[in-house]
Every structure is written in structure tokens, then in C-alpha cells.
């Protein structure tokens, strides 16, 4: 201990204290403050950059989700429209078919009715002609003095040929 105290130099202690405090103050002003500020600033900058990158990423994801949603909506709308169009088409076709059928049926019925009436008219006409013919024959037969058989036969034959 005595040796330690003997070694203790007041002058060195004085200079060390003075120079060291001056050094701390000088370095504080010209080195540590600017260095620590710059480092803090840089770290803050990195942090901000990372944050903004994260933010951009999130925004991007949001945008993508939005796009996806829009696309989905558009697709759904398109599907709906297509379906509607198909329905309309089908309906139109079936409507047209129905209408055509009704029309055709109507035409067939009309044709049938016309045929029936024609047929009836023809039959009536034929009946009249047959009656007239029969009457004519009968008249001629009667007119020819149906004296003999030959004559009768001849007459019938000629009449038949005539008719």
C-alpha cells in the first residue's frame, strides 16, 4: 500500500483527469454524437424502408385480392348473362315450336275440312250424274220399243258403249 502511494504521481493524476475530461467532451461533440446520430438515423432509415416495403407488399396483396374479386364478379356476371341468353334462346325456340305446331295443326285441320267438303261435293256430284245417266238410259230404253230381245240387248250394249 505504501509502495502504491509512493508510486502515485499527483502531476500525472492531474494531467490524466484534465486531458481525459477534455477528450470526453471533444469526442462527445465531434465524434460520438455525430456517429451515434448517424447510426440511429441509418437504423431508423432501414426500419422505415423495411416497414414501407412490408406496407407495399400488403398493399400489393390487397390490390391483388381486389383484382381477384373484380375478376370473380365479372366472371359471375358473364355467367349470369350467358345463362340468361341461353334461357331466352331456349324459350324463343320452344315458343316458336309451339306456335308452329299450332299453326300446322290448324292448317292440317283446315286441309282435312276442305278435303272432306270436296269429297262430299264430289260424291254428291257423282250421285247426280249416276242418277241423270240412269234416267237417260231408262228413257232411251223406253223410247226404243222394246219389242225384241235382240233389240233390247243391242240397245243396252250401245247405251253402255255410249256412256
Amino acid at each position: 500500500m505504501e509502495k502504491l502511494l509512493g508510486e502515485f504521481s499527483v502531476g500525472l493524476f492531474f494531467w490524466q483527469t484534465l486531458l481525459f475530461i477534455a477528450l470526453v467532451l471533444l469526442l462527445k461533440k465531434f465524434a460520438w454524437k455525430p456517429i451515434l446520430n448517424a447510426v440511429n438515423e441509418r437504423e431508423q432509415g432501414i426500419k422505415d424502408a423495411l416497414d414501407s416495403a412490408q406496407k407495399a407488399k400488403e398493399e400489393m396483396a390487397n390490390l391483388q385480392a381486389d383484382n381477384e374479386k373484380l375478376l370473380k364478379e365479372a366472371r359471375a356476371e358473364r355467367d349470369a348473362m350467358l345463362k340468361e341468353a341461353r334461357d331466352i334462346k331456349n324459350k324463343m325456340i320452344s315458343d316458336a315450336k309451339d306456335e308452329a305446331k299450332v299453326e300446322a295443326d290448324k292448317m292440317v285441320a283446315q286441309a282435312q275440312a276442305a278435303i272432306e267438303s270436296e269429297k262430299k261435293a264430289a260424291i254428291a256430284d257423282l250421285k247426280n250424274q249416276v242418277a241423270t245417266l240412269s234416267l237417260n238410259i231408262a228413257e232411251k230404253v223406253v223410247k226404243q220399243n222394246l219389242a225384241t230381245d235382240d233389240k233390247q240387248q243391242e240397245l243396252v250394249k250401245s247405251l253402255l258403249e255410249e256412256s
Partner: protein, 379 residues
């Protein structure tokens, strides 16, 4: 830019060497027995670790056996009923008496201290061979003071240029800054913040950073063969420890003082506390002083011991002067040098770390107690 700096460095070196003085001490016939060499080496190692008034670079013995020391003188500043300033070259390593302003001074070659003497330069000794002459107040720029100045200038140049390079390069360090920036960040992130806390660490940062690099650089200079032993000098470590002590106690919070004078807190009635405190408070108060004292002794002892061990191992070569001791001394001192390189960093780290720890005690606030209350409520 780089070249300019190099040129400036060479210029400084040349100026220093230009100021070299050559002194020749008297022709002492030295014996060459191992015993003589042992005392010589012991004296040399002791001298090497002491602060001196001149900056010795090397010494040699010429063909005639004359002892020469090469180095440069430093100013001697003494106070004894007035200021006395002269160059240390006037002392001639304690061989001549210096007259200044009507007083006479001479260097004692055992302790390397300057004493007031009469015109003939006689020393008076007591029975234990201690000089009893009056010692003037010695404010000389000694070798240690000179090295403190050199390291201060070096630190200032390195770190102010690092600070400047930030301004110039958008916060990206350049050159030596690339090496020093991680260390600065390490001190901030792994020494200051964990020990002191995120809120209060900033006001201690200038001191912690300066003290770390100051001790580290001086320790490293101590490993050069120039015989620089600044951090192994008790006056220097005392000055540093006193600054830590003052910073700790001047920035101490209410909780810090409460911890010293009322360590048991609210949990105990006063009647029970008083008998305990008769023992506890003196221990706590003593602790305030023991903490920085341990700092100063640890740094001093480690650096001083390293120098003595290294000096002794190198001295072995000269004492034995044979083929075994030579390589052995070299190998051992080389190994110890490597360890000393680590110790240089380690001691700087420990001093900074413990200072930060003490600052942490001083700036503690009652947050942790609140946390405990919260835990209790949870239970």
C-alpha cells in the same frame, strides 16, 4: 487523400526523430556475472514500468562500454514557491543538478522523482533509504502524459473522421470506420443498453465509448517496446475510477439512494429494520467506494503484472545467455504477448462493462417493483 495522410504521418515521425537527443551516461564498468545481470534486468524492468521525465526509445552500450540512451526530452514543470519549467534533457538522467529560479532540482535514479536539493545535489536518506528531500509539485509532461496526449489526438482523429465519413457517405462508414463502427455499436448494444436501459443509456455513452477506446489504445501502446505503461499506472486508473465514481453518484436516482439507505424496502416494520441497518447501511455505503476502487486496482494490477511478466521473460534471455534460455524466453514472451494482446482488449472491456453496470445501478427506477406488484395481482 490517403497519400496526404501518409505524408503527414511521415512528417510527424521525422520531426519527432529530429528532436532526438543523444545522451551518454558515464562509463560504468558493469560486471558480467549472472548475478549482476539479474540485478541489472530487475532494475531495467522496474525502470521500464515507471513514469519518466523523458521519452526513451532505446539504449545501447558502445565499444568503450559507455551507456547511451536515445530518445527525446519532454518539458519538466515544477511548482515550488513559483513555477519552474525546463527541458528534461537538463536533468541528464539524474547526473546533473538543475538550477531554476534560485532553486536546485535533481532526479533520484531509484524512484525517478525530482527532489529539491542544494547546489551540489546531495540527497538525504532516512534509515530505510528513502529520500527525505522536499519534493516539489511535479506537473511535468512525463512520458505517460505525453502518451495520453498522443492517444487523445489519435482517438480524436480516428473518430472525428469516422463522424465526417458518415456525413459524406450517407451514413455508411469508410476506411478505418468499417473496423471501429462495429465496436462502437457493440458498446452501445451489448454493454450500455443491457446494463443501463433503453431510456437512460444515452447520457453515459460518450464516457463509456471514450473510456473503452482510451484504455484499449493505451494498453496496446503498452505492448510496444517503448516502455509505455500508462494504464499500469495507479494515478491514471485512479483518475478514471474517480470519474466513474462521480458519474455514478451524481446521476444516482432516488431509488439508487433508497437502495443504499433503505435496502429492505416497505416489506418490513422499522423496529425490525433498525438493528439490521446498523450492519447493512455501512456495508452499502462502503460498497459505493469499493466498486470504483476495484476498478482502479484491477486495471492497474493487470497491466502492471503483464509488463513485469513480459519484461522478466525477455530478461531471462540476458540473464542466462545460453541456447536453451534464448529460444525458451522468446517463445514464452511471444505467447505471453499474444495473451497480453487479449488482456489489453479484455481490461478495456471489463472497465467499460463494470462502469456501465454501476451506471445501471445509479439510474435504476422503480419499474421492476411495479412489475412485481403486477405479478402478485395475477397470482
Amino acid at each position: 487523400m490517403q497519400k496526404d495522410r501518409l505524408a503527414a504521418l511521415f512528417f510527424i515521425v521525422f520531426v519527432c526523430f529530429g528532436a532526438l537527443n543523444l545522451w551518454a551516461s558515464d562509463n560504468k564498468e558493469k560486471g558480467n556475472t549472472p548475478e549482476d545481470r539479474k540485478t541489472e534486468v530487475s532494475a531495467y524492468v522496474k525502470h521500464h514500468n515507471l513514469d519518466t521525465h523523458d521519452f526513451g526509445l532505446f539504449s545501447y552500450t558502445d565499444d568503450q562500454g559507455a551507456h547511451h540512451s536515445v530518445g527525446f526530452p519532454l518539458p519538466v514543470i515544477l511548482w515550488s514557491d513559483g513555477l519552474h519549467v525546463f527541458s528534461s534533457s537538463a536533468l541528464h538522467h539524474g547526473e546533473t543538478v538543475v538550477a531554476s529560479n534560485g532553486k536546485f532540482f535533481k532526479l533520484d535514479t531509484h524512484t525517478y522523482k525530482i527532489y529539491e536539493t542544494d547546489a551540489e545535489g546531495t540527497f538525504k536518506y532516512d534509515d530505510q533509504h528513502h529520500v527525505t528531500n522536499v519534493a516539489p509539485l511535479d506537473f511535468s509532461i512525463t512520458k505517460s502524459v505525453f502518451m495520453i496526449m498522443v492517444v487523445s489526438v489519435l482517438l480524436f482523429l480516428i473518430f472525428s473522421s469516422l463522424a465526417k465519413s458518415y456525413a459524406e457517405n450517407k451514413s455508411i462508414p469508410k476506411g478505418v470506420g468499417r473496423f471501429f463502427e462495429p465496436i462502437v455499436l457493440y458498446i452501445r448494444d451489448d454493454i450500455a443498453i443491457p446494463n443501463i436501459g433503453e431510456e437512460k443509456y444515452q447520457k453515459y455513452m460518450p464516457y463509456l465509448l471514450t473510456v473503452f477506446f482510451f484504455i484499449w489504445f493505451l494498453n496496446l501502446f503498452g505492448l510496444t517496446p517503448l516502455g509505455i505503461n500508462v494504464t499500469g499506472n495507479i494515478a491514471v486508473t485512479t483518475a478514471l475510477a474517480i470519474i466513474t465514481f462521480l458519474l455514478t453518484n451524481l446521476t444516482g436516482t432516488k431509488d439508487y439512494w433508497k437502495h443504499i439507505f433503505d435496502p429492505l424496502g416497505h416489506g418490513m416494520p422499522w423496529a425490525a429494520k433498525i438493528p439490521l441497518y446498523i450492519i447493512l447501511i455501512p456495508i452499502e455505503v462502503l460498497g459505493i467506494f469499493i466498486k470504483p476502487f476495484s476498478l482502479l486496482i484491477r486495471l492497474y494490477a493487470n497491466m502492471q503484472a503483464g509488463h513485469i511478466v513480459l519484461g522478466s521473460l525477455i530478461g531471462l534471455i540476458y540473464i542466462f545467455q545460453n541456447w536453451i534460455a534464448g529460444p525458451l524466453g522468446f517463445g514464452l514472451s511471444f505467447a505471453i504477448s499474444l495473451i497480453e494482446l487479449l488482456v489489453a482488449l479484455l481490461q478495456a472491456y471489463i472497465f467499460t462493462m463494470l462502469s456501465a453496470l454501476y451506471f445501471g445501478f445509479a439510474s435504476e427506477s422503480h419499474d421492476h417493483a411495479v412489475e412485481h406488484d403486477g405479478e402478485v395481482q395475477h397470482l
